[in-house]
Amino acid sequence: MALLEAQNVTKHFPVSAGGFLLKHYAMLKAVDGVTFSIQPGTCFGVAGESGSGKTTLAKMVLLLEKITGGSIFFEGREIKGFTFKERMWYRTRVQTIFQDAASSLNPRMRIKNIISEPLVVHQKSLSNEEIMAKTEEMLRLVGLRSDHMNMFPHELSGGQKQRVATARAIILEPILVILDEPVSSLDVSIRAQILNLLSDIQERQGLTYLMISHDLATMHHVTNSIAVMYLGKILEMGDTEMVFSSPHHPYTRSLFAAVPQPEPGRFKTGPALIGEIGNPLNPPSGCRFHPRCDQTDADCREVEPCLTEVKPGHRVACHKV
């Protein structure tokens, strides 16, 4: 059974648009009908640029934003209507690591208190010694030393801060961890350390990851399946190897072609992708990508394509495929 399942999930933000006199409410369709499922023990990647809706999707899974439409099922239970108790239970099963490690740690709290806070909130029966023992164990697990316990966040480097954020995320032994651009704000030479750490922890604790990123090369290494989002919709989805070795959707192809690679003299086939990323307040009709696609026709402008299977485990939303 899938660990997390999203069915036609939608998130609409009412936004006041228009000037002072002509004020009206428009709908910002941040996420518009997204369906996917995550198998336990895997790493599911959601890739996209700004405006794609990937961050909003993550927030909905974390119950930080209300789900406007559709459903999200966790272990078969729909999370939309959770009671307070169910929500507290959910929080012990699903955790997250954010992009900005510096902002993720309360500058006025010591590391040991930052890491142990989830235990303090959820497991009130534990004694202080037990809490500290577990905290130290987590600290070791993420590659930090005991003397980091009493320090404050500003005394740590970027990579170390992200390790603390990781320790805090896994101390309650969740089964799903949402990784929101976990290494984007780190130096290049540190990224590999953190990614390897996350991969080790996944194996050791039997975790499932949902990773949001715009960094396709990293996604390629880390994820088992991937979904490519654009303006609130999934355009291509499937097994990572399949999608990366033969991308079908024009957007996915352009995206891969646009990623800078450390290969001098690499041939850039075809012209750069034209136009700007669309406006989620007023997305293009039909296929969202049609204004920038070089294979557009009347069908693309009017009818929105659905995700159809091109190979087992590989689905694309495009009329031309």
Partner: protein
């Protein structure tokens, strides 16, 4: 300037010697002027009675309106001169320090308590509650402080409690506005979101996450407001709404000395100077504190 390398023990706690060395370095950068101005006032406030050259209330009509030492007819034992009833001015000023400090510190503290709480609630919960609180703040800020004091004195009578309450009522709005803004910005930071994801309740988030990050701002505000509070206190007493004679509040001394401005000038002058010293000291210290606590300007 050398870099202080801290050696940490195996439990991460910085050993005493190094903490002491670091504190010494920090102390070198203390605002000498600010603290220099405030220290005498604070010392007088706490240990006042030990310093009275004479009893502040002791009248000696034979010595009334004597000028300060060094001037003709002045005496060393009445260092700053005497007032119209022969009371030693210096002693009265020392006693006044105590009164002013108690009133302003309590007043500012209570204002802080009220302002920070309401500001935090307004900023964190937003919506209707925010609206209501901010409108109340707007209303209260539009009433002139002295008028507010008069209203309170009229209903509660004059005395120390009235002044403290007046200060609280006048100053809490300043805190509320600023703290609300700070709360809004702290609320956006990732660690607050993470606390929510962890399942922390609202109270815990407010007390453990938001409030500690507001303390710096609140402290700086308090230091800066201390000066203003003393001026308000002096003004209220000057108007006769606060402490009554024969108490020795600075405002009262100025008020009594009004008539003697051209003859026994030392009475209003020195009491005015005392107020100025305190306000200046608290402002300078407040400025330094703001710079010292601002993480962006921090060096160590």
């Amino acid at each position: 300037m050398m870099v202080v390398m801290e050696k940490r023990g195996s439990n991460g706690k910085v050993p005493f010697f190094h903490r002491w060395r670091r504190t010494r370095l920090r102390l070198r950068r203390l605002p000498i002027l600010g603290i220099g101005l405030l220290m005498p006032i604070i010392v007088c406030g706490i240990f006042g009675p030990a310093f009275y050259p004479h009893e502040p209330t002791q009248m000696n009509l034979a010595k009334s309106l004597h000028p300060p030492a060094l001037l003709p007819r002045g005496e060393w034992s009445y260092f700053l001169g005497t007032d119209q009833l022969g009371r030693d001015l210096l002693s009265r000023l020392i006693e006044g320090a105590r009164v002013s400090l108690i009133v302003s510190i309590f007043g500012v503290a209570l204002a802080g308590l009220m302002g920070v709480s309401l500001g935090m609630i307004a900023g964190y919960f937003g919506g209707g509650l925010d609206h209501i609180i901010m409108r109340i703040v707007d209303m209260m800020m539009s009433i002139p402080p002295i008028l507010m004091a008069i209203l309170l004195a009229a209903s509660l009578g004059s005395g120390m409690m009235t002044i403290i309450l007046s200060i609280m009522v006048i100053f809490w709005t300043g805190y509320a506005r600023v703290i609300r803004g700070e709360t809004l910005s702290v609320k956006q930071r990732d660690f607050v979101t993470l606390a929510m994801v962890t399942g922390c309740g609202r109270v815990r988030i407010l007390m453990k996450h938001i409030f500690p990050n507001l303390v710096n701002t609140a402290l700086v505000l308090a230091t800066l407001q201390l000066g203003r509070a003393i001026i308000i206190e002096a003004s209220i007493t000057f108007l006769g709404l606060g402490l009554q004679p024969p108490a020795s509040a600075w405002g009262l001394i100025i008020s009594e000395g009004r008539m003697y401005l051209s003859t026994a000038w030392w009475i209003p002058t020195f009491s005015g100077l005392a107020i100025m010293m305190t306000v200046l000291g608290s402002n300078i210290t407040g400025d330094w504190l703001r710079n010292a606590l601002d993480p962006k300007l921090r060096r160590i």
